[in-house]
Symmetry: C2
Subunit: 327 residues, 2 copies
Amino acid sequence: MEQKKTSKRLRCIVKLGGAAITCKNKLETIDEENLKEVSSQIRQAFVPDSTSANVLGMDWSKRPGQSEAPSFVNDFGDQPVVDSESYIVVHGAGSFGHFQASKSGVHKGGLSQPLVKAGFVATRISVTSLNLEIVRSLAREGIPSIGMSPFSCGWSTCQRNMTEADISMVIKAIDAGFIPVLHGDAVLDTLQECTILSGDVIIRHLAAELKPEFVVFLTDVLGVYDRPPVEPGAVLIREIAVREDGSWSVVKPKLEDTSKPVEFTVAAHDTTGGMVTKITEAAMIAKLGIDVYITKAGTDHSVKALSGFLKGGIPDDWLGTAIRYMS
Amino acid sequence: MEQKKTSKRLRCIVKLGGAAITCKNKLETIDEENLKEVSSQIRQAFVPDSTSANVLGMDWSKRPGQSEAPSFVNDFGDQPVVDSESYIVVHGAGSFGHFQASKSGVHKGGLSQPLVKAGFVATRISVTSLNLEIVRSLAREGIPSIGMSPFSCGWSTCQRNMTEADISMVIKAIDAGFIPVLHGDAVLDTLQECTILSGDVIIRHLAAELKPEFVVFLTDVLGVYDRPPVEPGAVLIREIAVREDGSWSVVKPKLEDTSKPVEFTVAAHDTTGGMVTKITEAAMIAKLGIDVYITKAGTDHSVKALSGFLKGGIPDDWLGTAIRYMS
């Protein structure tokens, strides 16, 4: 008898985009400042009464250059556990894992090739080391974060589509008051032996199963643009409406060149396979009646998105892309 | 339909004792030299044709002080994957996790106490960081090691006894040619909310389900002694016979003081709850007809134990404790 629902409603799924928390062009380098700010914003959003001063850190590992555990460990009293909203964090790989995966072609499968097999192992080492650092960063903010690898959870795919994804352990962790921290991972595939399961696909699956109130994608740009954001005149797409059949269109701002299909416009700067995939995944979530907000990590806009403030309506001064179901 | 068996017979379960691979009195410090030697011995035992020269490393993470991935990544050709025996590695915590767990009392349960909840998170951070380093060390030897956390695997206990422990993912990993690397972990407990699941209990469970040919415990002393090994005249117990009812007795050497029950003698130096627990766990494995060898990591004796050489009989010059079923 599998437990299908959490006992309290899931408030949110937060995606930490790899680009937002790692240094894109530096192999396996975390953007420490961004990660700290994001972790702090997540704490503030879901434990509204918390301040950086009253947080009791949950990462008791010794810090670099120290030989002892941090002294705050002695500060725990018998105060009750602060009640937090339920949420899940999923992160991408950024400068972790991508090198190993693309060098070996793990996503294409074929474990009998030594390069693919080694790349599978190397990819998992890289992404799990990032996961550990994110769990530690959240724990330092007093967030009871628990790293959970899709591979270990037994998730697998068939021809790159998610097939087995038992979320009972994710539910149990949430019900016990923990915040699961999942990540894109190398996984087994029943047809092609192995592949890469992306964080975005994980989020779609979790959203469909657990119906959070909303989903926030934190990235390194303000949202989705009508062309590469570095190009002059790039326009931030503020709102996308998703219809019942899963198709979507830009409703705000009114784009000047309406003869040009938006799908193409967006695809034009999809060099990393990122933005169209992101909108497509987001549209599938929005179709379920779950608002999706894409915005820049570590800004006032991400604070608003994480707090759930946007559920009441998108103010004009909020910069980001809201993807919502319109019946 | 749960898959119950691996498609090829499991050769061995190796326990890396925390004391053997970490510096006992230095918080969260790995004994790098020992870990490297142990990893190399494991490779030699299970991939007999391998040498340190022809190994293709599977840890592609950048090394400390480097900004690029190691250059050997370019050396992979299209040679077939070397066929390895199937085995599982389980490790203890040593100077990782113990501090966090004992400071907070995670083993006693009670997640509503902030200290226990924080300790649970802190313990998992510490043991998973050790797991990552062990996986990396094995991967550097060309071992396709895959870290799997009992918590993420969905394993849990009821009043500290293992209840849920679906090993299907461990089996799938083995069948795909990987070496699962598991560890003692903080887990959920249906009666007391949480506890610590030890590496030894995990091994007993895996041994009962997967029936390996033998089990090797690598530790920091030669084996089990009749009194604390630092005391003068301490005698290494060479062989313990386990009977059908699970009771056990020393068969080699003949202990002088036969009036003194062996259980008590062994318990006398059981300051860490280690040795009697170890023998009791080992006896339960041996009862299944699976030989258990306890010996010192990184020695000629551990090479012999890992190779399966002892299955044919224990030579007089082998130093360690063999625990075997005697009908």
